[in-house]
Symmetry: C2
Subunit: 474 residues, 2 copies
């Protein structure tokens, strides 16, 4: 048979003959039951060696186009109906242009107040590269194979537990941790496990629209519960219908920025126990806390009701796609099973690099450095808002994270304002955009500062002052 390690010329020749015969069969020039020319005849006709024709016949026999009848010859097999679809690939263009699909959104190059977005120009590339290289150098052959455990590399889970204890006072065991593809996959897996179509899930309102989509995609019904400056208004959780889970961002409510008060924490967990539901604690950005000590995790108060979800997207970089969850005992096995069926396990070399990056304290140092960087940006944004609007603006939710809330009493940020600013290359995020029940947050902006340069902060605030309808200037 044709071996691809044979010379290129011979290979091309047999490929051409193969294509020719195949095309003749497709076009019914050779019909089912027809006897093909002998290899001798065809080699004469085509001016190639007989062995080339033999090769091609054998290939076509192996693929079922031809049949060999010993002592009689080679025949075209009965292929039955042999309709190729309209979209036969030869008709497909190869220019790479998307066919009838929306173009990728062009990355926005102006001043983008996108919340919860880290400074991409401050990624510790050099140190990360060192960690990635060392991880590759130290990898054993088995490290390139399938991981036995869908939970992720054990070295990462061990060092993560130490990190969480030191940085946030979270006590957990490596066996309770599942490494995921960003917090997104953690929440998606939890949805898949906890929610059936028709179930109810209670969430904060406002919240991140993307997370909302994940919940809604399960077919579950969303029960929005309002938040105030102390986080979720737990007393508004209903006695019926009982939600299967409650989604909260207790350390820094997204987007309004409140801390879930200790009283409400107890209340929420009491509610969870009484209704038998789980609480998903999404700790998306508490690493960057500018005032006071780290907020305790809700999980501290009940390890068996709370699933803690964390991410390295804000502290390192989003493209890494590494998040994790700390899982109640009862949910561990089903979640590991689901994770395995979803993607077997995550890519393990980046996990090894991350474990090393943390073990060598680069992570802590980076977070400390970024806290100073973000702290400066935050102070600048607050100063710009104060300078521009004086007491006409109310600032809140700024104790942690990469965004704050600015509120103008007699103002309304509608789509017209957004469009006007967008034309000036300023992208703003009205809080209303995150609301499930509309009409309560129209005078608020969610202002991310993580990925803005200082000059952009100043220019952005200036532009908002100039265009914002009803904004009171000092």
């Amino acid at each position: 048979m044709m071996n691809r390690s044979s010379s290129g010329a011979a290979e091309t020749k047999s490929k051409r003959i193969y294509d020719l015969l195949r095309e003749r069969i497709f076009q019914n020039r050779y019909a089912a039951g027809d006897r093909l020319p002998s290899t001798r005849d065809l080699s004469g006709e085509l001016g190639v060696s007989r062995s080339t024709v033999v090769e091609v016949y054998e290939q076509l026999i192996a693929e079922g186009y031809l049949e060999s009848r010993p002592g009689s010859g080679t025949y075209v097999a009965n292929l039955g109906k042999r309709q190729r679809s309209e979209a036969f690939p030869h008709a497909a263009k190869e220019d790479g242009a998307p066919a009838g699909l929306p173009e990728n959104p062009v990355p926005f190059r102006g001043i983008d107040f996108r919340p919860s977005f880290p400074a991409l120009d401050s990624v510790p590339v050099r140190k990360w590269k060192e960690a990635a290289l060392t991880a590759l150098d130290q990898a054993s052959a088995a490290d390139f194979g399938y991981a036995e455990d869908p939970a992720g590399r054990e070295d990462l889970r061990v060092i993560l537990c130490r990190l969480l204890l030191h940085s946030k006072g979270i006590r957990c065991k490596p066996s309770q941790v599942i490494v995921t593809s960003g917090a997104t996959q953690a929440i998606a897996l939890l949805c898949r496990l906890l929610l059936q179509p028709g179930d109810v899930v209670a969430t904060e309102d406002p919240m991140a629209p993307f997370i909302r989509q994940i919940f809604v995609s399960t077919g579950a019904e969303l029960l929005p519960v309002p938040v105030d400056e102390h986080g979720l208004r737990v007393e508004e959780l209903p006695a019926t219908p009982r939600p299967k889970c409650v989604y909260v961002t207790p350390s820094h409510q997204f987007p309004l920025g409140g801390i879930l008060s200790i009283g409400r924490r107890f209340q929420l967990l009491e509610y969870a126990r009484q209704t038998g539901c789980y609480v998903i604690e999404d700790d998306y950005d508490s690493d960057f806390r500018y005032e006071g000590m780290p907020i305790h995790a809700l999980r501290e108060l009940d390890e068996e009701r709370v699933v803690y979800v964390g991410t390295f997207s804000k502290t390192l970089f989003p493209a890494l796609r590494i998040g994790y969850m700390i899982v109640p005992h009862h949910l561990l096995d089903p979640l590991l099973r689901l994770k395995r069926l979803m993607d077997m396990h995550g890519p393990t070399l980046p996990q090894a690099a991350l474990a090393r990056f943390i073990a060598e304290r680069h992570f802590e140092r980076h977070v400390a450095r970024m806290k100073r960087v973000y702290g400066k940006k935050r102070s600048l944004l607050i100063a710009c808002l104060r300078d521009t609007f004086g007491n006409g603006v109310r600032i809140s939710g700024d104790a942690a994270g990469l965004h704050l809330i600015a509120e103008w009493p007699d103002c309304r940020f509608d789509s017209r304002t957004v469009a006007l600013l967008e034309r000036q290359q300023i992208r703003i995020y009205p809080a209303e955009r995150y609301a499930i029940v509309r009409g309560k947050h129209e005078n608020r902006l969610v202002m991310g500062f993580g990925n803005l340069a200082e000059s952009q902060v100043e220019e952005g605030v200036r532009a908002i002052a100039e265009i914002g309808p009803g904004i009171i200037r000092r």
Copy 2:
């Protein structure tokens, strides 16, 4: 307020006082409504500066433990019921020992005939490292952010289309490709999209148990269709119930190794059109073809009915977790939506590294080299089987891939045989293990040779000959 950038000593001091007060509140020594000592008094009592106590009070107010009543003092807030769960974390052990969970399976260190498993000692680590480094060096700031497109990096999708055209004659556009976390995620997403509980999915029998689990986990009913040496016996697909999709491995049936004949391909696609179902083409190992030219993809015959699923797990390494699918027009948008809700998008730096690795032709060279390596192992395994069993063994399914089928007419590989060999550190894989309808493949072994050293091939066959009950020796 306490700022963590303040000196370490001060920080520790305020942390201690914070913990002390918090514990007193938890223990009800300070009850709801109690007025706390003035900051002056407490600072005297504890021997710390007044500002430290002020800091701690402010933190506890922010978290909702205390309330400040202006002009009156600081009071303990009403925390309601304040039950901490039994599993309060201070009780959790930190020794990292899994709590009531099965230990990770110990990696098998003997001779493992695991099929479809690549040679982990031949991973092109140096070249891969170069590609990964260059990808990091050339990454723009935006490359560290979230990708706009859940389909994966465009440079990878473009070069992948070129690679597929050259190596397998597959014509597709980058916009038709979705990069996934291994073939697993591609199949999981397809299941999620195409199958509802109660639906029917037709699969080859035997098949990979793991893929079977993914199908079954959707709640769909599995309809096993037998295979023979020409692949799926398409004529046994039922008129009713109509499956929502048919899963096939047409280039090299897993595990039996047949090529789906062209006649059956037409028949299968005709069936798909008539019943309105999709065909999932899992091309898991056709890169390593030892006889003849590459087998055409089933997708070539109908781009709108066939979803082609590919993977880099066998050609590069499994830990990479990069697979892909080429998607019919109608499924593209829903699959992209699902992928986004599942994990936003895959990690993009390894994708950039892979794009570079392919663009610089390292991939083609590696596959060509590995084809020689695997070809040698395959020949050795066949020679060992022939030397040991003569005509007593029938070898099939060996034209491609990393495994073959060995069949002994009067033999039966039961769990006892498996256990006996396992005790000798030889792991074998009876074909029966992959069967849905049992009892048809008891005299067959699926023999993977990809990750075995030559000496292991010889030793493994010898051990099978010595222990295999009913195996006819020459």
